[in-house]
Amino acid sequence: MAKAAAKTAATASSSAERRPALAGRSTSATGVKVEVLPPAERMSLRAPEASLAALSKALGVTLPKAPKTSASKAGRTALWLGPDEWLVIDEAGKDPLADCAGVSALHSSVGVSHRNIAISVAGPAAEAAINSGCPQDLSLVAFPVGAGSRTILGKVEIVLLRTAEDAFRVECWRSFSDYVFTFLSEGARDAAG
């Protein structure tokens, strides 16, 4: 057994190559396009109220304090997930973990870059496509541009962010990504029909 394990490890290190789940997959229906987004840096952040000012300064984006909101600056987005929990997504290639490392105020920052994958759902029928499996009210009144929330899609948990009036970013755990992508593709077809 030990021999086999060692062999596997050696093979893995000699071909260390990242293979993002579902890379490059996309599907289109009338009025909506579902597309897997490129990898991004992600961080799960937990912190008490007293640490927010220092963390916001270090991250370069003000951590939102209101439920269901997000803040965005220079390719970096911070989503309010709970009263002391945020998801920070950086699409500009800078690691938010490194920025938090120097902060002495109490906080917990955990890198989750490769735990999640992101899927873009865009087009006039995007709302209907997501609502095929997500029970939240996604009208512009209830879920305006910039609104973000952890919620569910079908059987799995997702983090939903509205990036434009007709565009959403769906974040899910990579082991669920096949299910989520297929679900959204079917939802898109239904929404178009």
């Binding site: 439920p67 269901k68 997930l81 709970g82 009263p83 929990e85 029970p135 939240q136 929330s149 952890r150 919620t151 569910i152 948990e157």
Partner: protein, 103 residues
């Protein structure tokens, strides 16, 4: 679908995001080892199971992930009100849920 107001998200959310977590306001003894068997049984197993108003813990599992308390009618399944975890049991209940939303 049932809509449940999460006191942390400050809005009504679909029931699919929530999970029930049993009866609320069950105080754990500070001296558990000194509890008699009868008292421990009451704490651990015996629940009120009323017909009508019940005080429950709920968790906004697929939302803010916070535990909170809810007052629910077991006959109509209607949520009377919800309040944050750690807050005392409400002494007076609102007449209808609209008052809670307005608050």
């Amino acid at each position: 679908m049932l809509l449940i107001r999460c006191p942390y998200c400050e809005e009504e959310r679909p029931e699919l995001e929530f999970r029930n977590a049993g009866e609320a306001h069950i105080a754990r003894s500070a001296n558990m080892a000194g509890e008699s068997d009868d008292d421990f049984e009451k704490f651990f197993f015996i629940r009120s199971n009323p017909k009508g108003i019940i005080y429950e813990r709920w968790r906004h599992m697929h939302g803010c992930a916070r535990f909170f308390n809810a007052v629910r009618d077991t006959v109509t399944d209607k949520f009377v009100m919800t309040y944050k975890a750690g807050e005392p049991k409400p002494s007076k209940l609102p007449k209808n849920s609209n008052e809670v939303v307005a608050k």
